[in-house]
């Protein structure tokens, strides 16, 4: 007995068989079984689940939408007048200063500082987060953190504006060194708060900038 070919059976999932095909199916358990397998395949395909996008997807998309003008409410950096600061510097500001206050700025400028890198304010803030007993308390802690963060960014901006500030964008070696520092600081932040989307996003940005810089270095003609 000659069996129905594969494409014919695939068609019979959706369409009624001709009289000849019906007669064959009634007499052929092999083709009947194969048709059932095709039906199961189609049913399984229809039940495939949704797929979560990568973790950094929203952050990248949001940045793109802001740059395309699709998001119109001002972001944090725009409110601080840092809209045109390179993204890797924003990430540097966000991670380093959030973690270490003005100590980070000193680290980048080479200035000395008497302040410890992890100062008491940060310790108090960490304790505040840890001891939050309710959503309201946690929200309050977040607001305090945001205020500190904004203040830190303002301090960073002042540092950027100083004469003789860090010239870390003009040559690949010092830029890579700065980015290495930034990546290390970002990783430290993620280790402290592995599930924090903000720190994870900043780490992704830092790694992305480092990759981009490496690519630029490897193609000499494209280096600035």
């Amino acid at each position: 007995m000659e069996h129905l070919n594969a494409e014919t059976i695939a068609r019979l999932v959706d369409e009624r068989p001709s009289s000849e095909e019906r007669t064959h199916l009634e007499a052929c358990p092999v083709c009947t079984s194969e048709l059932e397998a095709y039906r199961s395949q189609v049913e399984a395909l229809g039940g495939l689940p949704e797929i979560l996008p990568p973790q950094n997807d929203w952050r990248v998309l949001e940045a793109r939408m802001r740059s395309d003008g699709l998001i119109k409410d001002p972001g944090l950096f725009e409110r601080l007048g840092l809209a045109h600061t390179p993204s890797w510097m924003k990430a540097a500001a966000a991670v380093l200063l959030f973690l270490t206050g003005t100590g980070a700025g000193a680290m980048m400028t080479g200035e000395s500082t008497d302040r410890p890198l992890a100062d008491m304010a940060m310790m108090e803030q960490a304790a505040m987060f840890a001891s939050s007993q309710s959503v309201d308390e946690a929200a309050s802690a977040v607001r305090v953190a945001e205020q500190n963060y904004v203040a830190a960014l303002a301090r960073y901006r002042e540092l950027l504006m100083q004469d003789g500030g860090p010239d870390i964008g003009g040559d690949p070696i010092s830029r890579m060194a700065a980015l290495q520092t930034l990546v290390a600081a970002s990783q430290a932040a993620v280790r402290q708060a592995p599930a924090d989307p903000y720190f994870n996003g900043l780490l992704a940005s830092a790694l992305g900038e480092r990759e981009a810089t490496l690519r630029m270095v490897s193609t000499k003609d494209n280096w600035f």
């Binding site: 695939a10 199961s40 189609v42 689940p49 797929i51």
Partner: protein, 188 residues
């Protein structure tokens, strides 16, 4: 109380970041799923899905609500992915010789079945894969597929039946490979 979708859409069209984020949170998995399957590649999928969102948010002011937002967004995602694929033409590698079977580590369950279906989808030639995804996964009619891909509904049917047969061949080989490894065969 959750905001109505219409209100979210209105605010998102005005550039409200939170409204856009809310729409993203609701629909990103669906958008990413269809784009990922059409692209057949994780990295391309992220680029295409982002392009779809950019297009959708840009077009939001013209969204009239004639169709459901999810349907409207879904069409934009499909079109964005298809156009990007045509433009890039980077999928040639997937049109090489069909593997004898999809490699598998024997185990059981729906998760394995879904994984193998996804892998088999990735290995289908591009034209067949697009038709199969749009019809069997996304539920498009042949007329809708014809409009979307710029082919006749007859071509869509023909591609679909070939795609199902190729996929069945890959999955049947896999089934045999699993039995050789002593794992329980699944029902397909």
């Amino acid at each position: 109380m959750a905001q109505s979708e219409n209100e979210l859409i209105r605010r998102a069209a005005d550039g409200d970041a939170r409204a856009i984020r809310s729409l993203y949170d609701r629909y990103a998995p669906r958008v990413f799923a269809v784009v990922r399957r059409i692209a057949g590649d994780d990295d391309l999928a992220q680029d295409y899905a982002q392009e779809a969102w950019i297009r959708a948010i840009r077009a939001l002011p013209s969204f009239r609500g004639d169709a459901r937002f999810s349907t409207w967004l879904h069409r934009i995602a499909v079109n964005a992915a298809l156009q990007a694929l045509r433009k890039a033409e980077t999928r040639k590698k997937h049109e090489g010789p069909e593997p004898e079977h999809v490699p598998v580590a024997p185990s059981r369950g729906d998760a394995l079945l879904q994984k193998q279906l996804e892998r088999a989808l990735d290995r289908l030639p591009e034209g067949m894969r697009q038709v199969l995804i749009l019809h069997d996964v996304e539920g498009y009619t042949h007329e809708e597929i014809g409009d979307t891909l710029g082919v006749t509904s007859g071509t869509s049917k023909s591609q679909l039946f070939k795609a199902r047969a190729k996929m069945r061949g890959m999955l049947a080989s896999l089934d045999g490979a699993m039995q050789e490894h002593g794992a329980e065969a699944w029902s397909i």
